[in-house]
């Protein structure tokens, strides 16, 4: 068993360190490549058949941008309508406040058990360990989340959180934790095991926690997008429902779902429409939970709004198309990002949610190839935000006193000195050629360097210096012409 991955940005190791371990795990890489290949192919096929895809993308992007520009008004409208429909609205400035609000509701309900629909936001605030420590058992009900919960593992993807686990690993987890020694590794048998494991819990546990895909300002309704039906169970059977939603999740009108649902299903799972969408408005007499709480979570989001370039980060509708397309994510999987939000969106969202106090290595976990931007259904220009965040990280480093000891800082200072004096530059070139000669192979490539240079040659070769510089070639050419 591998140790549990650390997804708290405050404690996680930097991306290159975490990634190195994973790159040495061929099984995990195989599982991630397999899953992302399949989703990407399905998505590509369904996007290609959609004649108005780019128009839908533009509309989705503009609706989300409009919401963010006017977020205060739409949130207040949502709150107002939700309360009018019988809901109770709470506001949480940070993770700790949201956790406490949820715990207080559970205590009020005298609930020591709770069923949960997959919600990345609850993982963001590390809700489960908090509730367990306070004596409330949490039961995840999404198949992937069950695999992770029972396997003492963490999500590595925001739509298919257990995509790094293969069927025989799932079999082992279920056989061990559900007491089913004869379970086969056929996915159907595994899904059946989960169905049986959960059926009674759905019927017996009267309190549920969900996230939200969309909050509708016009009506105060909440929408959940899902495939398995575990969401419908949690939204329908319990007496009390608690919905935890980031403040950015609001859309202006019910009608806007005609855009959002179309782009989300195709982008997330490569389906024309996912099996189930549920929408409810406050409390409906005789149908579903009769007590309904919504917690509107800030936790760093309002600070992202203040920067015009970074604001687009909050347009995200959590489809995960960016990670499926990302050449970095496809090699490392999600755990290397040290956050519940991995991949390109995680690389821009996580450091900002921590107000740039943590996860400063993530904006560099990208080749800036732009594949994420191309597939994003709400047109978040992720490379643009990455570059801006890199500048912020550099500014932070510049403010630190010990920067004088940083090899990169020293190297840049020395380079600046050399490069601004032609005679020194030429001398350095000559020395460099002599110095590097002993490391240069017969094929003209440098395969291994000592010291700091090893950081480069660990993962790629370096072309050796040519026998002649451009300057000396130019001089020779002029001389010959005479």
């Amino acid at each position: 068993m591998t140790p549990r991955p650390e997804l708290d940005p405050a404690l996680a190791p930097p991306f290159p360190v975490a990634a190195l371990n994973i790159l040495r795990n061929p099984q995990l890489r195989k599982n991630v490549a397999h899953a992302t290949d399949i989703i990407q192919a399905k998505r590509a096929r369904l996007v290609a058949e959609k004649k108005d895809w780019q128009q839908l993308r533009s509309a989705a992007s503009e609706i989300r941008a409009h919401v963010l520009e006017n977020l205060g008004a739409y949130l207040e409208k949502f709150e107002n309508r939700c309360i009018a429909a019988g809901g109770i609205v709470h506001w949480a400035a940070d993770a700790a406040e949201a956790r406490q609000i949820i715990l207080d509701i559970l205590r009020e309900e005298k609930a020591d058990e709770v069923i949960k629909i997959k919600t990345m936001t609850s993982a963001e605030i590390q809700l489960n360990p908090f509730l367990e420590a306070a004596g409330a058992r949490t039961y995840e009900t999404d198949l992937a989340e069950i695999i992770l919960q029972l396997g003492n593992d963490e999500p590595s993807h925001i739509v298919v959180p257990a995509l790094h686990v293969n069927r025989s690993q799932v079999r082992d987890i279920f056989a061990r934790t559900m007491g089913l020694p004869n379970l086969s590794d056929d996915p159907h048998a595994l899904a059946d095991a989960a169905r049986n494991y959960l059926r009674r819990k759905f019927l017996d546990i009267p309190t549920a926690i969900s996230g939200a895909n969309f909050l509708i300002a016009e009506t105060g309704a909440v929408a959940i997008v899902e495939s398995e039906g575990n969401g419908r169970m949690c939204l329908t059977l319990p007496r009390t429902l608690i919905t935890l939603a980031g403040i950015e999740k609001v859309v202006p009108r019910f009608r806007d779902l005609e855009v959002m649902l179309q782009v989300l299903a195709r982008s997330a799972t490569g389906e024309r429409m996912n099996p189930y969408n549920s929408l409810w408005t406050g409390v409906t007499a005789g149908d579903g939970p009769q007590r309904f709480h919504v917690i509107l979570l800030d936790n760093g989001r309002s600070s992202i709004l203040t920067r015009p370039v970074e604001r687009q980060t909050l347009k995200c509708i959590r489809c995960a198309a960016c990670m499926n397309a990302c050449p970095v994510y496809r090699q490392t999987g999600g755990h290397a990002y040290g956050s519940v939000y991995p991949g390109p969106i995680g690389a821009i969202l996580t450091p900002q949610l921590t107000q740039m106090h943590h996860a400063q290595s993530l904006p560099y976990a990208s080749s800036l190839c732009g594949a994420c931007y191309e597939v994003c259904p709400v047109k978040i220009n992720i490379p643009e935000v990455l570059i801006d965040l890199r500048a912020q990280v550099t500014d932070q480093e510049r403010r630190r006193l010990n920067r004088f000891l940083d090899p990169i800082y020293l190297g840049m200072k020395i380079a600046n000195f050399l490069f601004s004096r032609a005679w020194l530059f030429h001398a350095a070139q000559s020395f460099g050629r002599i110095g590097l000669a002993i490391f240069t192979g017969k094929d003209g490539w440098i395969h291994a360097l000592p010291g700091l240079g090893a950081k480069w040659t660990q993962t790629r070769d370096l072309r050796g210096l040519p026998s002649q510089t451009f300057h000396s070639w130019w001089d020779d050419r002029a001389r010959e012409a005479k």
Binding site: K51, A191, F202, A221, R232, R253, P275, Y276, T284
Partner: protein, 226 residues
């Protein structure tokens, strides 16, 4: 730990400082919303026949069983489906037409049935609000003929009666049919499914595993399939 009201004020203040003041003027806000670009396809272009054929094709791709019938022979078609299912205990919403309740079967009409009773039923029969051919989606607004949400959730077998006049081609056309936003919506695109284990699609995790649709030709036209 801060109290609820201060956090609300603090969050909204932070948002207001970060965003535009137009947000506080309802007229400007409505104006900005109205000019958002909506150049995507809103109305379909298929003929009524092609639209129905597409809906049937999509449903079959989901492994749903589809039969077509005329309004006159609907009760007989329902009875035939129920008998063929081999099941005996069914639940039905209170607004279902009485002639749909085929005789000789154990019917429980949901006038506030306890969950345990719904759980014990082998199947459920309901009407629908609308269907979207483009994605094969059936949409319920949970009226008295469509039933409470739990009714179409716990039984493993769902027979949905769909009228051809309820089928639209595109998702925006469904929204055209909602002059007032509904309080409850469930959309169903095939039976419950998961791809969480190695992206292998598995039918029937928690919701009904079997979806049957009877398509009633209430706008004329010849049945496409039998």
């Amino acid at each position: 730990m801060t109290a609820k009201i201060p956090s609300r004020r603090a969050i909204l203040d932070r948002i207001r400082i970060a965003t535009q003041p137009t947000a506080d003027n309802p007229v400007l806000l409505a104006g900005a919303y109205a000019i958002l670009p909506r150049t995507y396809i809103r109305t379909g272009h298929l003929s009524a026949e092609a639209r129905i054929a597409l809906m049937i094709e999509r449903l079959r791709e989901f492994d749903a069983e589809v039969v077509e019938t005329s309004p006159e022979s609907l009760p007989a078609a329902i009875a035939a489906q129920l008998v063929a299912s081999g099941k005996h205990t069914f639940v039905a919403p209170p607004g279902l037409p009485p002639e749909w309740l085929a005789p000789g079967l154990d019917w429980k009409i949901d006038k506030g049935l306890p969950t345990s009773e719904i759980e014990r039923a082998e199947g459920v029969v309901t009407a629908a609000f609308c269907a979207v051919a483009d994605s094969g989606t059936i949409i319920l607004h949970h009226s008295i003929a469509e039933g409470r949400r739990v009714l179409t959730l716990l039984p493993d077998w769902h027979l949905c009666i769909l009228r051809s006049s309820q089928i639209v081609e595109t998702l925006p056309e469904y929204f055209d049919r909602c002059p007032q936003p509904p309080a409850l919506v469930t959309t169903i695109s095939g039976p419950s499914a998961t791809a969480d284990i190695e992206m292998t699609r598995i039918k029937g995790v928690h919701g009904p595993r079997f979806l049957h649709v009877i398509l009633v030709r209430d706008q004329g036209g010849q049945p496409i399939v039998h």
